[in-house]
């Protein structure tokens, strides 16, 4: 197990550098970061040259990348061009997005898995058919449409929730945004659980458990669920990174000042340091989540042995 973890950590290194380099190059293509500093007017050449020197933008891209990465490892994510530390922005943005992600994952687990178990056990039943149809509809409506419509109905028409989330973003205001963020994954979790349960339902070990005379709920929770949830856990784990990166749309609709908001602002203002910094952290989250999922595999499924 220890050797496996080390090997996985080593494998993460090239992916980490590749992904950050890729985003670094993309941001450089994005345009002249200096142009954003002089407002709407054109910078005069002398100021531009001085600013470029100050931010090290006169050096070749690969050198900028190395300097940047060197700084990141000492905890210095640079300064946004408005003078605020990028780490400061992160400290205010990440807790909000993490809360939003927790709400989303909670919905995925509770609603997704329960619906999946229900439909998996009752395959062909009208409940199954209607839930399946519902998941297809949810998958095909893009998140921003779901968000806008829920905001219109719950926030504006019926007044159940506030249409915009306040800047502290406490959990109770994040319920609907979290549901919106989770919606598509929720549908996938339902379908995945359903398929998995339906497949395992006829497995020998379930028959054995039934034959032993175990009560039905014990057969389902201890035997059927534990085996069926392995692919679901994998999906939810890899989804953490996707949710945090995809929160950009939900955060924009509900005016949540999280990671997506800061990234959107950073991109609009061509704020290279902010964009690269936030994406770097998101990439780390994605990689670590994937690693944890792989390790969790061994816990859930004792047949899997990591040499």
């Amino acid at each position: 197990m220890g050797r496996y973890v080390i090997r996985r950590l080593l494998q993460m290194i090239p992916v980490f550098f590749g992904a950050t380099l890729l985003i670094f190059l993309m941001v450089n293509v994005m345009g002249d970061p200096i142009a954003g500093l002089c407002g709407d007017r054109q910078c005069d050449p002398a100021t531009a040259a001085q600013l470029e020197k100050e931010f090290g933008l006169d050096k070749p891209v690969w050198q900028q990348y190395l300097t940047y990465m060197g700084n990141v490892f000492t905890g210095d994510f640079g300064t946004a061009f408005n003078g605020q530390e990028v780490t400061e922005l992160m400290a205010s943005a990440f807790p909000v997005t993490i809360r939003l992600t927790i709400v989303a994952i909670f919905f995925e687990i509770v609603i997704g898995i329960s619906l999946g178990v229900l439909t998996g056990l009752k395959r062909g039943h009208p409940v199954d058919t209607s839930v399946l149809l519902l998941t297809l509809v949810v998958i095909s409506i893009p998140t921003f449409v779901t968000g806008l419509i829920l905001q219109l109905l719950l926030g504006v028409e019926w007044g159940w929730i506030k249409p915009a989330v306040s800047s502290d973003a406490p959990f109770n205001e994040l319920i609907v945004p979290g549901l919106v963020l989770a919606s598509v994954s929720l549908a996938y979790v339902t379908r995945l659980t359903r398929t998995s349960i339906a497949e395992n339902k006829r497995a020998d070990y379930v028959r054995t458990a039934v034959a032993k005379g175990l009560p039905r709920h014990r057969v389902i929770t201890r035997h059927l669920l534990r085996n069926s949830l392995i692919p679901v856990v994998t999906f939810i784990g890899t989804d953490i990174g996707a949710l945090m990166g995809g929160a950009i749309v939900t955060e924009r609709i509900f005016n949540i000042h999280g990671v997506g908001y800061q990234l959107y602002q950073g991109i609009l203002r061509q704020n290279t340091q902010t964009v690269v910094g936030f994406v770097t952290v998101l990439v780390i989250v994605f990689l670590v989540a994937n690693l944890l999922v792989d390790l969790l595999y061994a816990v859930l499924d004792p047949r899997i042995r990591y040499a």
């Binding site: 149809l133 921003f144 990166g245 994406v279 990439v283």
Partner: protein
């Protein structure tokens, strides 16, 4: 006892479950028997007794033609393609012909969906919006499929160093959130055409297909008939094109069909964020985005393009589902 009722139908998988199949009596017979049962009535191809065993493709086609999900989604898609080529067939107006004095007004005779914030006819704009979505979906999928299956297929076939490098590259691409990449790359583009969006999707989408193609080529490579071809002295090219490609194609096609729906959805999302397509291009994403401020007074601005978008994506996803059910022999 957890199971008292007999399972309704073994082949009752995912998408198919929505439609009443009416074949409830045919319960879960062994696959082989189920096949022969299906074959006999009517003679599926109308050519009398089948002498030649059907290939995977004709078998799949045979299944698809009887799948109501396939027929419905297929009809929707054909309709979409037709109106994206000739929108004037069902919408006589001009989507850019707007009258500010009618802004946000509700439905009127001749304008069944009402007007948007600029006083443009929502019906006409919804019809014309199909073109951008279909173009992006089709061309992005073509690009991604061609690039992904060539890169992934070659990596799977030859293995070795190139395979290792490609796998790491796909890992890198998977680590970058797609919407984010779109925001960064497309925020500088000021083109009014669909091509930058398509280019972006090909750039960030190929790893998904290449991973699928690689896996299915590796599986196909180990088959006995490929080994036999190799033993008979077939060249690499011949093995790839004659033996491996036709057998490795099925999963690629399935994933590509479903991906087509997600590309349409992604285009709308990017347009909503202001970096996808740009006016005067008519696109559902742009219209939904511009509807947001008026949502209270003119909900029709939001609902019609959203509905059209959802139906389009749904059609492609259902088509992909149906094709998967037909092509994956394990589910039969």
């Amino acid at each position: 006892m957890p199971e008292q009722l007999p399972e309704p139908l073994e082949s009752f998988e995912e998408g198919q479950a929505i439609a009443p199949t009416g074949a409830g009596g045919a319960s879960d017979l062994a696959t082989a028997e189920g096949e022969t049962l299906e074959k006999t009535p009517g003679g599926p191809l109308g050519t009398g007794p089948d002498k030649k065993p059907r290939s995977l493709w004709s078998d799949a086609w045979h299944d698809l033609r009887r799948n109501p999900i396939f027929i419905i989604s297929g009809l929707i898609i054909v309709f979409l393609v037709i109106i994206s080529i000739w929108p004037q067939l069902i919408a006589s107006g001009n989507p850019l012909d707007c009258d500010l004095s009618k802004a946000q007004e509700g439905p009127q005779p001749g304008h069944p969906f009402g007007f948007n914030g600029q006083g443009c006819d929502v019906y006409t704009r919804t019809v014309y919006g199909a073109r951008a979505s279909v173009q992006v979906g089709v061309f992005a999928t073509l690009g991604v499929t061609i690039l992904g299956s060539i890169l992934g297929g070659l990596a799977g076939f030859y293995g070795g160093a190139w395979d290792g490098v490609l796998s790491r590259i796909t890992d890198v691409f998977f680590a970058i959130p797609v919407v984010l990449g779109g925001l960064v790359l497309l925020s500088v583009v000021s083109s009014n055409t669909v091509w930058p969006v398509i280019g972006f999707m090909v750039l960030l989408g190929w790893p998904q297909l290449s991973r699928i193609a690689r896996g299915s080529v590796i599986t196909a490579k180990q088959n006995d008939y490929v080994q036999a071809a190799r033993a008979l002295g077939a060249s690499n090219n011949r093995m790839l094109l004659r033996h491996i490609a036709p057998n490795a194609l099925a999963p690629v096609i399935v994933v590509a069909t479903i991906a087509l729906g997600t590309y349409i959805s992604l285009e709308a999302t990017l347009s909503f964020l202001g970096v996808g397509l740009k006016p005067p291009t008519v696109s559902w994403g742009i219209d939904i985005s511009s509807a947001a401020p008026y949502v209270r007074n003119a909900p029709q601005m939001l609902l019609w393009p959203s509905g059209a978008l959802a139906i389009t994506v749904l059609a492609f996803i259902m088509l992909g589902d149906a094709v998967r059910d037909a092509l994956d022999p394990k589910l039969r």
